[in-house]
């Protein structure tokens, strides 16, 4: 047993987190910044933060993840990190020549109170920012929220800096992307194109974190939202943010700054959430929903009807981020599955409210918790008390999966031990089919492995 010290008996904890279902803000800011073309993320803190974030993102993507650090020492921690950041900005523009440096803070620089706005202005005054280059920033104190908060804060930082309004709206819809994979951003773009919508998507990590092997390394891959697009987003007629936790603050900021009205939908994961996303896109972009989209939807529904018997009543435990978990729970319910345990380290009372609404009638026995102390240890204890048929979450679930002999679908962040998450979308109708394929594969493999020889089935 790998998690042999996890007891069945649940003791109340008030201070100790064990096996967290979240990580800290800066990594989210780093990921979001990688979705800007020609951008080098910069971590204003100790070297370890930058190193840890780059390592974790690299393990997840198996791609170069470039970022710089202010390399705080004890001296800078006492006297402030301004000198380090000014040096860093100068060095980065001289040596690595990005178009944008996207700075995020850390618990260290937040605790000492470094003022990123003032320092980046000073860098400009001192001529450390070459003409036509940009320094953007956001505050990401690690002791508030989670990695999702950091992602949301970097989006706010982007909106704070780039979008400009000429006062004249153009026929374009901003798609503000929640924390999803490069493949998902690519899929959303494909769907918008199918619908004939004129869009700007940001951030966009496709062609950044799924770059091809060409034998030539380029520090700034061809993907990422361009600066001109980010500036132009201020003239768009509306914004559609998908993923409330990740995008709402940025959408509000863009409305306040450039009078771009917005709507927020769930991440388009599963049938109904994708329906709402497609409808919102159609409404805001003022385009009709084409037959081709309806056909894709039909395919997803078809697969569900074909395989419903293997899904019905299956108990599922999930952990991850609210933006993924909420539509995923809804999808599982549409599959007649039972999402019984849900944890997320990301705080926000609205998560419990949304889950309550989804689950109270259909799965009254469901247990869920988010925020502090909502960790994988607790979820594992719930499982020990009454087992489940399927686990859905990041790679850390493999320990529970092995100990308890439960099929395990990897979804979320980080996935460090399997391939596919960055290449094949889980959003949209096609993404729904992929989720189904994965779930069914796992459940049917288990049935094949466990069934007696007498009832071993060829056709399923």
């Amino acid at each position: 047993m790998l998690l042999r010290h996890t007891p069945k008996e649940i003791k109340e904890r008030s201070a100790l987190t064990v096996n967290p279902a979240k990580t800290c803000q800066p990594i989210g800011a780093m990921y979001a910044a990688l979705g800007i073309h020609g951008c080098l993320p910069h971590s204003h803190g100790s070297q370890g933060c930058c190193s840890y974030h780059r390592s974790t993102l690299t393990r997840h993507y198996k791609e170069p993840v470039m970022a710089a650090t202010s390399s705080f020492t004890e001296g800078s921690s006492v006297f402030g990190g301004q000198a380090n950041l000014l040096t860093a900005i100068n060095n980065i523009f001289t040596i690595y020549e990005p178009d944008v440096i996207a700075i995020h803070s850390t618990c260290l620089s937040e605790t000492i109170g470094d003022d990123l706005k003032q320092i980046s202005e000073k860098a400009k005054e001192e001529g450390k920012v070459p003409l036509g280059k940009h320094v953007i920033y956001c505050n990401t104190p690690s002791y508030v929220g989670s990695h999702v908060t950091g992602y949301a804060n970097m989006l706010k930082g982007i909106v704070d800096y780039f979008p400009e309004s000429t006062g004249k709206k153009v026929d374009c819809l901003n798609l503000i992307s929640g924390w999803v994979e490069p493949a998902d951003m690519r899929e959303v773009k494909r769907m918008a194109k199918m619908m004939g919508a004129n869009t700007i998507i940001f951030p966009d990590t496709s062609d950044v974190l799924d770059a091809p092997q060409t034998g030539r390394y380029t520090m700034y891959p061809k993907g990422g939202t361009s600066i001109s697009e980010l500036i132009a987003s201020g003239n768009s007629k509306a914004s559609l943010g998908f993923g409330e936790w990740a995008t709402k603050d940025a959408a509000i900021k863009l409305e306040n700054k450039c009078k771009v009205p917005f709507e927020i939908t769930d991440l388009p994961i599963g049938l109904c959430a994708t329906d709402r996303f497609v409808q919102a896109l159609s409404k805001l972009a003022e385009v009709t929903i084409p037959e081709s989209i309806t056909t894709e939807r039909g395919r997803l529904v078809d697969v569900i009807t074909d395989y419903q018997q293997y899904l019905y009543g299956k108990r599922v435990a999930l952990w991850g981020d609210p933006d993924q978990l909420i539509p995923l729970v809804e999808f599982l319910l549409d599959l007649d599955m039972k999402p019984v345990y849900i944890v997320s380290g990301t705080p926000g009372k609205k998560m419990a409210a949304k889950l309550e609404k989804l689950l109270s009638e259909k799965v009254p026995e469901a247990r869920y918790k988010n925020g502090e102390l909502a960790d994988m240890f607790l979820m594992h204890q719930w499982i020990k008390n009454e087992p489940v048929d399927l686990l859905i979450g990041n790679s850390y679930g493999k320990y529970i999966s092995r100990d308890e002999n439960i099929p395990f679908l990897r979804m979320g962040f980080p996935i460090m031990d399997r391939v596919g998450h960055s290449y094949f979308p889980t959003v949209g109708y096609m993404g729904g089919i992929r989720i189904l394929e994965k779930i069914l594969g796992l459940l049917m493999d288990k049935q094949d492995a466990d069934s007696p020889e007498t009832s071993f089935e060829l056709v399923m």
Binding site: H5, C49, S51, R59, V65, N91, I112, P141, Y143
Partner: protein, 542 residues
């Protein structure tokens, strides 16, 4: 290792100039001292253990990573509690792949991540109460033999006194509780964390159990972290040659072994950088001498095993060692015969750690590959130039903040026989407390670079076009996008073991696979060299 016939490489002065020319003047001046064109016959100063230049894109991590991640991480039966916001604990959770056998008592906390998950209110009002409560809860649920606390950056700034909390909780719970002030900003790299870990383990753990373990000879293996099962390999050797391995610091380790680790006859130091402090302190306090060993490379392993047997002056042990070497070398020789012709003459470079960039050159030499450039991520001058420079290293402000423990002789437990033995052997030319460093072992004109930057690795690749580059996860896919394989020497790319004879065999095969795999040749599409056909299609109207 001391390669007998050193080659002379082309003078890379121009490359060095080109690298530096891109840097702002001040940066160029600072980096110049960290890039040294090696001359194994001349003693040159290698600037190292100095601050990383902000923005330069370094490989380095932080003090916490060195303390919690590297030194204490592999110990299975301590609840390692990170005091801070969630990230630090999360990122160091299982990511260094220290393999562990839970042992007879079955205690193994390695798959767990313990954190106080500090919130903004803890930053404002202090986190000591939460820390104490977290320790209480950890004890109630897990009943560990010991709990240790690791400070993250904000803890030092807000002034939480983890050591007082540790003392209070030790009293309350009746188990060992101790803390490490390893805030990320301390020192200039992971190295500070190693030192802090060594200090606290020495003061709070080593020496708690004075029992004498069975066996004729007792040793510790210091600085072996059981990545990919390296320590498992070595444990077998010691058993075979009749030595009791009391403790390994800290691969596949138990705190119970640390407590007893002063009751040995010899310390063997594998990773000099991360663990030499404990070796030195144990010698001062208990009289246990230390020798440098290296189990990376078949020849190095043989040499190290012989050196151990020589220390014990035991013919029976020496016979066992020779038997073991003979037996194990068979597979080594057979594999080399197969692998070497495909690897010979190819170039390698490695930038990693505080010993690995040196040790692994040995393995490459064995398959006929040449190391043209190497450097450490967090080493000190003695790891490059040898311990002879120890007296002349200037202690700067960043290192001065790391406590240097005053250690006194333990009158009761000091082994008077061991210094005598040491003197006798030294007179015969046997080397103790000695590490000659990486540079004397490298070829003339090889490029030695400390704390290499991303820019510098790019230029190295263009210049040398190596067949393989060794570094870590952050560098892995950058280098591979050039069409050059990168071997991770922190995580071994999830393979291994690479220590000992079996490890050498694994490594030869692994490098052969990596440098000769067909996929690197398949990168260009077949139509790349057929522009006229593409043009015809493009021009045609359909």
């Amino acid at each position: 290792m001391s390669k007998k016939n050193k080659a002379i490489l082309p003078d890379p002065s121009e490359l060095k100039e080109e690298i530096l020319s891109k840097y702002p003047k001040k940066v160029a001046k600072k980096r110049a001292g960290s890039i040294v064109i090696n001359d194994p016959e001349e003693h040159q100063v290698q600037q190292s253990n100095v601050r990383t230049i902000p923005g330069i894109i370094t490989q380095r991590g932080c003090c916490y990573a060195g303390c919690k991640g590297v030194v204490l991480g592999p110990t299975r039966d301590i609840v390692n509690l990170t005091h801070g916001p969630i990230g630090c604990g999360f990122y160091s959770w299982l990511t260094r792949r220290n393999q562990t056998d839970a042992g007879a008592d079955g205690t193994n906390f390695i798959p767990y991540c313990f954190s106080t998950d500090m919130q903004d209110s803890n930053i404002v009002f202090g986190g000591e109460k939460k820390l104490a409560q977290a320790i209480r809860e950890a004890y109630e649920i897990f009943k560990p033999h010991a709990i240790s606390i690791f400070s993250t950056c904000p803890v030092g700034l807000i002034g939480d006194d983890i050591h007082t909390v540790a003392r209070t909780m030790k009293k309350e719970l009746g188990i060992n509780v101790f803390g490490f002030s390893c805030e990320g900003y301390k020192g200039v790299s992971q190295s500070a964390g190693h030192h802090i870990a060594n200090n606290r383990i020495f003061t709070d753990v080593v020496g708690l159990d004075d029992s004498v373990r069975p066996g004729k000879y007792r040793i510790n293996l210091l600085g072996e972290y059981n990545i990919g099962g390296d320590a498992f390999e070595l444990e077998n050797y010691f058993e075979e040659i009749g030595i009791t391995l009391v403790s390994t610091f800290s691969g596949n380790s138990s705190i119970l072994d640390f407590e007893n680790s002063h009751m040995v006859d010899l310390n063997m130091v594998m990773c000099h950088r991360s663990i030499n402090y404990i070796a030195e302190m144990m010698e001062k306090k208990y009289g246990v001498p230390w020798i440098k060993v290296n189990f990376i490379g078949a020849e190095a392993t043989a040499k190290s095993l012989r050196k151990i047997a020589e220390y014990f002056e035991d013919d029976e042990m020496m016979a066992k060692v020779e038997k073991l070497i003979r037996r194990e070398m068979q597979e080594v020789t057979d594999t080399l015969k197969d692998v070497k012709p495909r690897c010979e003459g190819k170039l390698a470079m490695m930038f990693v750690g505080g010993s690995r960039a040196h040790h692994y050159q040995e393995l490459f030499t064995e398959i006929g590959m040449q190391t043209v450039s190497a450097g450490y991520e967090f080493a000190h001058r003695d790891d490059y130039e040898g311990r002879k420079v120890l007296g002349s290293i200037k202690v700067d402000a960043d290192s001065r903040n790391i406590e240097e423990l005053e250690v006194e002789k333990d009158e009761k437990l000091f082994r008077k026989d061991l210094p005598e033995k040491k003197a006798k052997l030294e007179a015969k030319g046997y080397k103790f407390s000695d590490y000659e460093g990486m540079m004397p072992d490298m070829d003339k004109n090889s490029l030695v670079i400390d704390d290499i930057s991303h820019w510098e690795s790019e230029k190295l690749i263009e210049y040398y076009k190596p067949a393989i580059f060794c570094a870590g996860i952050k560098e892995k896919y950058v280098i591979q996008k050039y069409g050059i394989p990168l071997k991770q020497l922190h995580s071994y790319d999830y393979g291994g073991p690479f220590a000992g004879f079996k490890g050498a065999v694994n490594f030869y095969k692994e490098i052969d696979r990596m440098v000769n795999t067909r996929i690197w040749k398949l990168i260009p599409p077949p139509w790349k060299d057929q522009p006229e056909i593409v043009a015809k299609f493009a021009d045609a109207e359909y």
